[in-house]
């Protein structure tokens, strides 16, 4: 299928430069590539590799006035896009080259119905009558397998789930049957099970229409599933180019090898030789014990603002974590895993029993509660958002010591310096502000901060999800080392099954606020009993083109909502032991 003689898109020696504080900097250097008709080309690389800039350069949508194409040509068929003026370029965008972005919520206009947004782009490029435009929009929605397409036209973006919204975006992009579709991280913001569906949809549509696709991604699993050809980029340069199978089996460049080595894989069990057996832990040995935890949020509505609905975010979750142990809580967005973490960290009110270090949190006075707080620390998902940007990192790490009145000023700064060294930063970086660090370094600062009080339990809420794979691997290694050294227990919250398999001792799978399966890592991964667990594991794209699946695991229906009317509490699932402490919910 790559046999077409003349490439549809031909980029020659493209350079993009961005004007910054200290002059112009090249973010894409001397990039040449061709895209054949019907081909899928993946551009893979970590953040800052220039892959998104390349996409924007093709679309002539570089952020103005800072970025510009400094040299090179972008040929679409016979036209050189770099020479076109804005008016003529507008006619090409959407009609011949379409683009879908990462975040389907922000790239749809929240105040316009999806029908309006769909028809708008069709109207802009065709001279069809209103009825025909509508027909075309409905067809486009049907093509992306959206049910009841006609009534969906009236809906607004917030009424649709993330996966649905991304499908609408794809429908919009493909409504005019463009020659080239550029998809910039189209599934990164989506849950794994939904990701599978969207990828499959893209593949099918491409097959039907013969569209050429440029897929930009950081996820080597997605590359393996989708690509005919791969370009690996780093620091704005192409590092390697080749057929997908070749790149994965015989990577030439060192960087490609590193990148592939850093990708967490399910079933490889990197890092831990044997998962420790679920020890027969007595209650006293447990660092944290959670019993029948409920978190519910009341929603006000109706004429008098009375509570009429309730979000059942966490419904009767129980687990325990021993010292030196990592319990992973996995599930998709909205399953209540982060809310569980927040309840444990004291950020949201809850009901049920939480015992930390032998002390029950409820019924404690203010000072006692503050003392218990010392034992539970949290590392958040986004290291950019979880550090106060106006404080120096040294002050931030020293702050917990200061608040709890530990150590004198001099001792404090010594301790902070030691912590910095321990997490792989240098002590003279203490004077810097958070924005002066990279994402991985910032997450190290967060780790140092969490460690400062020598807690018994660290809650890591998606703590490595926002990081590049190579950085992710190093941060995970650091976490493991620290556990060995300090004997701290982790509650590791993640949606990424591969990462979870890499770090956890025990795994609990959450679905709609309840645990549906819990057991040791081996029990859950090699013998998943609950259908939801199985679906989660199957949905993860495998970074190996030889294991490409013809069909992805698909959800039978959308995940139901955790919001319910008052008096309609969800059914509580009973967990059944299927041997050696492997707990599975009965299918309901």
């Amino acid at each position: 299928m790559i046999a077409a003689s003349k490439p549809i898109l031909d980029i020659a020696n493209l350079c993009v430069s961005v004007r910054g504080e200290d002059g112009e900097r090249e973010v894409v250097s001397d990039l040449s590539l061709t895209l054949a008709r019907g081909e899928t080309l993946c551009i893979a690389g970590e953040s800052g590799s220039g892959k998104s800039m390349t996409a924007l350069a093709i679309m002539q949508l570089l952020p103005q006035p800072a970025a510009r194409i400094s040299s090179g040509k972008v040929h679409l068929g016979d036209t050189d896009l770099t020479t076109l003026d804005e008016r003529r370029m507008r006619r090409i965008r959407g009609d011949r080259i379409a683009m879908i972005f990462q975040e389907p919520m922000t790239s749809l206009n929240p105040v316009l119905s999806i029908g309006r947004q769909l028809t708008e782009s069709i109207e802009a490029h065709t001279s069809l009558s209103q009825g025909e435009v509508r027909q075309r929009a409905i067809e486009a929605l049907k093509a992306v397998r959206i049910s009841e397409a006609e009534s969906r036209l009236k809906q607004f973006p917030h009424e649709l789930s993330g996966g649905m919204r991304q499908r609408v975006m794809i429908a919009m992009a493909l409504a005019l049957e463009p020659d080239v579709l550029i998809a910039d991280e189209p599934t990164t913001a989506l849950d794994v099970t939904v990701q599978g569906e969207v990828l499959e949809l893209l593949r099918d549509l491409q097959r039907q229409h013969g569209t050429s696709v440029i897929l930009i991604t950081h996820d080597m699993g997605v590359v393996a599933e989708m690509a005919d050809r791969v370009i690996i980029m780093r620091h704005g340069r192409m590092v390697e180019e080749g057929k997908t199978a070749d790149i994965f089996s015989r990577p030439q460049a060192d960087y490609t090898r590193e990148l592939l080595a850093a990708v967490p894989r399910i079933g490889s069990g990197v890092g831990r030789q044997t998962s420790r057996e679920a020890e027969a832990t007595t209650a006293s040995a447990n660092v944290a014990e959670v019993k029948d935890l409920h978190v519910r949020f009341d929603l006000h509505g109706g004429f008098f603002g009375r509570v009429n609905r309730r979000v059942h975010a966490v419904e009767g979750v129980s687990f325990s974590i021993a010292a030196n142990e990592t319990l992973a809580l996995v599930g998709e967005s909205g399953c209540g895993k982060s809310t569980t973490a927040k309840a444990l960290a004291g950020l949201v009110p809850y009901s049920g029993g939480v015992v930390i270090g032998g002390r029950n949190l409820s019924g404690l006075g203010r000072d006692e509660r503050k003392a218990v707080r010392r034992d539970v620390q949290m590392i958040f998902q986004d290291p950019y958002a979880s550090l106060d940007p106006r404080m120096r990192v040294g002050e931030l790490v020293a702050e917990p010591l200061l608040i709890h009145g530990i150590a004198s000023k001099q001792e404090r700064s010594d301790r902070v310096a030691a912590l910095f060294e321990r997490v792989g930063l240098s002590a003279d970086q203490m004077e810097l502000y958070p924005h002066e660090f990279s994402g991985g370094q910032r997450q190290r600062v967060c780790i140092a901060r969490a460690l400062a009080l020598r807690p018994k339990l660290i809650i890591a809420d998606e703590s490595v999800s926002a990081l590049d794979v190579s950085v992710q691997a190093r941060v995970l290694d650091l976490l493991k080392e620290l556990q060995r050294e300090f004997g701290v227990a982790y509650l590791f919250i993640s949606h990424d099954m591969a990462v979870v398999e890499n770090i956890s001792d025990r795994v609990a799978v959450m679905y709609l606020g309840q645990i549906v399966e819990m057991g040791t890592r081996d029990q859950v991964f090699s013998n998943p009993r609950h259908p939801y667990t199985r679906r989660l594991i199957e949905a993860v794209p495998v970074p190996d083109p030889a294991k490409r699946r013809s069909r992805f695991a698909r959800l039978d229906q959308e995940i139901p909502s955790a919001t319910r009317r008052i008096g309609e509490a969800p059914l509580k699932l009973a967990l059944r032991d299927v041997g050696n402490g492997h707990l599975v919910a009965a299918e309901g």
Binding site: S386, E399, H435
Partner: protein, 302 residues
């Protein structure tokens, strides 16, 4: 793979740590901020040194201060900025008026800013019934005509400069409170505030160490905008006879006394108006520079 302990040196942000110059030093290094500081210094010096800078009494009506027909004199060698309707030297009145206007612009505005920030921060951070009560009260104050309120307050108290300043403060805090409230409530949702709570930080600590610094840019902008608003509000009050009592000069009442003669004697409105504008602009320039200097994320950017 590199060892996890090896420092992550790939970040572009690494730079040698420079000792940070004090805020004052960095302020005077900026040309526009320096200009602002100089204007403020001139105004303050003029107000303080008024008796020595001018030979006239601000309230003395001079015979040679009016033409034969009784109209004010334009600027000349004797009366540098001309004279007003009653034959008083305008330069002298502006110099003495600076005392009033500075007190109003700095004290009244400062108090208004303080009340507004306090109400806004407390309502925005704690929400709940405290927040609702405070914000409903703010809405009430907003809906109530500010001038009417000022008139009521001024009628209750014996008019004096300080009472006028308090009246202006009590009227002017409302907009600040509203803006600070909105910003605080969005800041309180940010993840680093959650992170502070997980390490056991108390509410006052979060408010003063982590939320207030982020509000500084807004506070500075409202503070500088407030200077001209309050000076003009004082003028309005003077005009209605409830502000600074005549014959005491203030920039505002100089304009109001003379505005009907604007076409015949434009300098009477132009010079005090220019003084208000210059003062407001000066504080704006300083405020702008301060905002950039106090924001660590702006460091090293032009």
């Amino acid at each position: 793979m590199t060892s996890p302990i090896a420092p992550d040196l790939t970040a572009p942000g690494r730079m040698p740590v420079k000792p940070r110059a004090g805020v004052w030093r960095r302020l005077v290094r900026r040309r526009l901020a320096l200009l602002g500081l100089m204007i403020v210094a001139i105004v303050v010096a003029g107000a303080v040194l008024a008796p020595w800078l001018t030979g006239y009494d601000p309230n003395e009506q001079m015979f040679d201060g009016l033409t034969i027909e009784g109209s004010p004199l334009p600027p000349d060698a004797k009366f540098w900025l001309g004279t007003d309707l009653l034959g008083r030297d305008l330069l002298t009145r502006i110099l003495y008026g600076a005392r009033t206007s500075l007190i109003i612009g700095i004290v009244a505005n400062g108090v208004a800013l303080f009340i507004g920030t306090l109400v806004g921060v407390v309502a925005g951070y704690f929400r709940g019934w405290i927040g609702s009560a405070l914000m409903r009260f703010t809405d009430l104050m907003m809906a109530f005509p500010a001038l009417l309120l000022a008139i009521c307050l001024a009628a209750v108290f014996e008019p004096s400069l300080w009472i006028v300043a308090m009246v202006i403060a009590l009227v002017n805090w409302v907009q600040t409170a509203r803006v600070i409230y909105t910003e605080t409530s969005s800041l309180a949702e940010r993840e680093f505030i959650d992170a502070e709570r997980t390490i056991g930080a108390s509410a006052p600590r979060i408010l003063f160490r982590h939320i207030l610094p982020h509000l500084l840019p807004t506070i500075i902008v409202w503070g500088t905008l407030g200077i001209s608003t309050t000076v003009l509000l004082e003028a309005t009050l003077s005009f209605l006879g409830i502000g600074v009592q005549p014959p005491t000069a203030s920039w505002g009442n100089i304009i109001f006394e003379n505005q009907t003669y604007f076409q015949a004697a434009p300098w009477l409105v132009f010079f005090p108006g220019a003084a208000i504008l210059a003062l407001a602009l000066a504080f704006n320039l300083i405020g702008d520079a301060l905002r950039d200097i106090l924001d660590p994320t702006q460091r090293g950017r032009a």
